[in-house]
Symmetry: C2
Subunit: 559 residues, 2 copies
């Protein structure tokens, strides 16, 4: 390759089709597409309701090895595979998450794929898009305001101001808001108390929106949110503050999935984007279930590596939404294998077949894990210019020892023509009827045992451990009727263990549960294992300093 164009150059050169034409490919009439500009649209709730009785297409999950600084290209592969399936004559749509606004101004990097496998309009997708995240922020903060307002006017519900668990949110990286004292300044401003902000993607409202079947389900779940406890530790719900109705009104439009297109003019639903640590990290159930009614193949992705992302996709999203994934793709790169094999980032350009072989232990474990859920898997080697034939061969040989196949994909450089082989393999797997999907633990298992099961079977640790206070809290929630919920484990994405520097396939580690949280509206219990940041900060030189409108009015520096 003599000339490499940047992502933004490629995206700008895209020949986008009117969004009505893209919707037409999925059989959506123009009156049921609510346009946002000429290249984005929401699919109307009415149309979605009409499709409910149709048969489902095949659901394909794209997941990955543990992320390394080398980058694995999961979204890029998701987009590429969608284009590849369309190229080989299949009716396919991709479902991915929306991007969070805040991080755009911190560290360079968009969330719309890359190279010749992107969704467009990428500037919009990375900025305000159709306003969904702003709606979530508003709904979340309305509830926050109603809590303090209730206390201000007499606190009839007897909320213990020391036990308010509902914080505020902002779609911004702002460490100064992590811990605050609010309601200062005298009686007119309320009762001073400790409070704080999370980033919007960490809001339980985001998780709720992404797990709700429809508006009615959404409103019920919003009402179920536990916002605080009384002195007797009984919960106070959003419903008690009569907040659920107004929150649902604020989220009415946001519940409708967003349609955009790939560079190759294939349809893509981009909807929802919960954190992948304290939440489940998948695009919305509404988008996925709608896509399954509109296409024969739906390609979706899950956050982080398969230990976190795929596990939550299977055990939370698929379990709760009744989804049956037909096949999984595990994305890996030669570079990431080398880093897992001990090579430093600056040495990645040098061929090192032994390091590749050592690093494959990480990949191998993810393959085994996905198969534990009964889902057939194939490995996608996302090709980089610097990969050598011998390195690729080493990866393929390793995967073959597990009885599986690894396929080199060049969608980044070549678009769909570079990913045809993977597309054919995925279609064959999906059509084979091999998938016998089941979650890895039953609903009826006690909450602690659910965490312990994931630790042992997925993370391959010795056991989960927790203080008595945490075990007591889990028991209390079981007594209160939350025992049937799945668990959502928040731990580092960089390792199977809780030590981010432990690459490869570590064993013998214990996983300590530091804290547990109840997301009663979303419908899961969060087990926090390690330091999890729910409000990021900005770096010393934030990328916002280099973002501007150029002379032609185009956005520079965003990607």
């Amino acid at each position: 390759m003599t000339e490499v164009k940047s992502d933004i150059e490629i995206a700008r050169a895209a020949r986008k089709k009117p969004i009505q034409e893209i919707g037409g490919k999925l059989g959506i009439p123009a009156e049921h597409l609510l346009p946002y500009g000429h290249d984005k649209a929401k699919i109307s709730a009415e149309f979605i309701a009409e499709t409910r009785s149709r048969p489902d297409g095949k659901l394909i999950l794209v997941t990955a090895i543990n992320p390394t600084p080398a980058g694995e290209g999961k979204t890029t592969t998701t987009v590429g595979l969608g284009d590849g399936l369309n190229r080989i004559g299949k009716k396919a749509v991709i479902c991915i998450r929306e991007a969070s606004l805040g991080p755009c101004f911190g560290v360079k990097g968009g969330a719309a794929g890359g190279g010749y496998a992107q969704v467009v309009p990428m500037e919009d997708i990375n900025l305000h898009f159709t306003g969904d995240f702003h709606a979530i922020t508003a709904a979340h903060n309305l509830l926050s305001a109603l809590i303090d307002n209730h206390i201000y006017w007499g606190n009839e519900l007897e909320i213990d101001t020391r036990r308010i668990v509902w914080r505020r949110v902002m779609d911004m990286n702002d460490r100064a808001l992590r811990e605050i004292v609010c309601s200062l300044g005298g009686p007119a401003n309320g009762f001073p108390r400790e409070a704080g902000f999370d980033i919007t993607v960490a809001s339980e409202v985001m998780a709720i929106l992404c797990l709700s079947k429809d508006l009615k389900d959404l409103e019920n779940r919003l009402g179920d949110i536990v916002v605080a406890y009384r002195r007797d530790k009984s919960p106070v719900f959003a419903r008690d503050l009569k907040a659920d109705g107004a929150m649902a009104v604020l989220l009415k439009d946001a519940m409708q999935p967003n349609l955009v297109q790939t560079l190759e003019n294939n349809p893509a639903l981009v909807h929802g984007g919960p954190f992948a640590n304290i939440a489940h990290g998948c695009n919305s159930v509404v988008a996925t279930t709608t896509a399954l009614k509109l296409a024969d193949y739906v390609v979706t992705e899950a956050g982080f590596g398969a230990d976190l992302g795929a596990e939550k996709f299977f055990d939370i999203k698929c379990r709760k939404a009744g989804l049956k994934p037909a096949a999984a793709v595990i994305v890996a790169t030669v570079r990431a294998m080398k880093m897992n094999g001990g090579v430093k980032k600056e040495d990645l350009g040098t061929e090192d077949i032994d390091a590749v072989r050592r690093g494959c232990a990480n990949l191998g474990r993810h393959i085994e894990n996905v198969k534990q859920f009964g889902v057939p898997a194939v490995v996608a080697i996302n090709h980089f210019h610097s990969d050598t034939p011998a390195e690729i061969e080493a990866m393929k040989a390793f995967v073959a020892t597990l009885g599986e196949e690894a396929i080199v994909c060049r969608h980044w450089a070549e678009g769909s023509s570079g990913i045809e082989e993977l597309a054919r393999k995925v279609a064959a797997l999906a059509e084979s009827g091999m998938s016998q999907f089941a979650p890895i633990y039953p609903d009826a298992m006690p909450l602690f045992d659910k965490v312990d099961t994931v630790v042992k079977r997925i993370y391959r640790g010795t056991e989960a451990i927790a203080d008595k206070a945490i075990r007591d809290q889990l028991h209390a929630w079981e007594q209160a009727g939350y025992g049937h919920l799945p668990v959502c484990i928040a731990k580092t994405q960089y390792s199977f263990s809780t030590d981010p520097t432990l690459r490869g396939a570590p064993t013998g580690h214990v996983v300590p549960i530091r804290e547990v949280r109840l997301s009663a509206g979303a419908g899961f219990v969060v087990a926090i294992c390690g330091e999890i940041m729910t409000m990021p900060g900005l770096p010393r030189s934030p990328s916002s300093e280099r973002i501007f409108l150029n002379e032609r009015g185009y956005i520079e520096g965003l990607f």
Copy 2:
């Protein structure tokens, strides 16, 4: 009238036309309308640039007496007059402000007109609309985050953390956020300091967006924002934090005016909505100047009564944007005259001609004031069912003594057919060439004298007074090159004085300047006279408790 429909019933029964058809009435090609659903669109910046060389239509200001709890119906009259002008064969467009989201959940009441004089879709306009306010919130808070981030990483600019004047904003009524301490929780979260939130409409970014000619002007003004001072009191600008480029990127779409329609399918631009106390309270300059290129008549409104709204419209918006208003309409009601004449709200149903006559003193002063700016005026009596013929006659007779005309308008109940007479009068005034518009003070006047001029000539007080510290601050800004700016006076909207209970036409009052603020980006100096709340609270029983989606998915309780 035997049956009175509610605003929401009327709005829901509206037969909306596709927004492209509405745009077509103004000669906007479909490709230059960026749709948001089927009934809202932004007008592209490219198209706006193309219209720059066209001649301007006539600009009509709708203003009002001092507001009373009886309601005067300024927006309703603005919408009605636009429809009325179209009805009598004129090509007219209205320009009004966008609604703030936060207050919707506090006290019932939308901002899209009423009765048969409304803009639609009213639910959208009162909620997220096209996301402009969310974009302003994000741009504002990005700057806030960059300030604390700069301090966190070493504070190279030597910002005095006690002198940070840039707060954060949220589009929510949340008194708990008025005064906070942020950056608590240890070294990772920064340096603790006092901070706080205003509501988004009070953001200087809102005022800047509404006063900027184009994106370049916007970016320059964003850079000019003073965010803090050093220990030597020298200012630190947003430009010093390299925030202006990214903020402009966030506001790129929000700068494009929004097109919707009235119930009678006439075009309406709804764009921007700055506070009318600490800011100038008018819709955007871009919307108004664009409308003037597309129609023969542009009907717009200003916030609060004419003492605040019209004065700022003339002295800030028109002065800075080079606008020449051709005529003004002063909205008054029989009910409001009675309240100004001393009648209590519960007694408004009883005829009281003497009270009407007494209350007319308030109206008379506003008529005189508007004429001081050289703009011909007519009084619109916004008709209520309970008004008696004798009361209306008393109002008309009073206005006639000032050599002007008062015209009864029934647009609320009858739509455009009820406001034909006013439309004909306004058209005649505008075409008469009578307007000799000039601001009431020159740019070169010292800042304090500007306030004093408004106090004496508009508020009819004895004088403006201020402590030495405030006068020194004004001198310091004059020395720093800000002396040419207009002043933006924040005082109660209920009285010509600073005492909200002093209705009618008080005299002899002094106006104390309690505080001054520099809005260097927006381009005015704020003089705060009295208690001004920039972050409202919610009432004991907020209207959010009664807002929900009904069985048909329609929004209930919002209006």
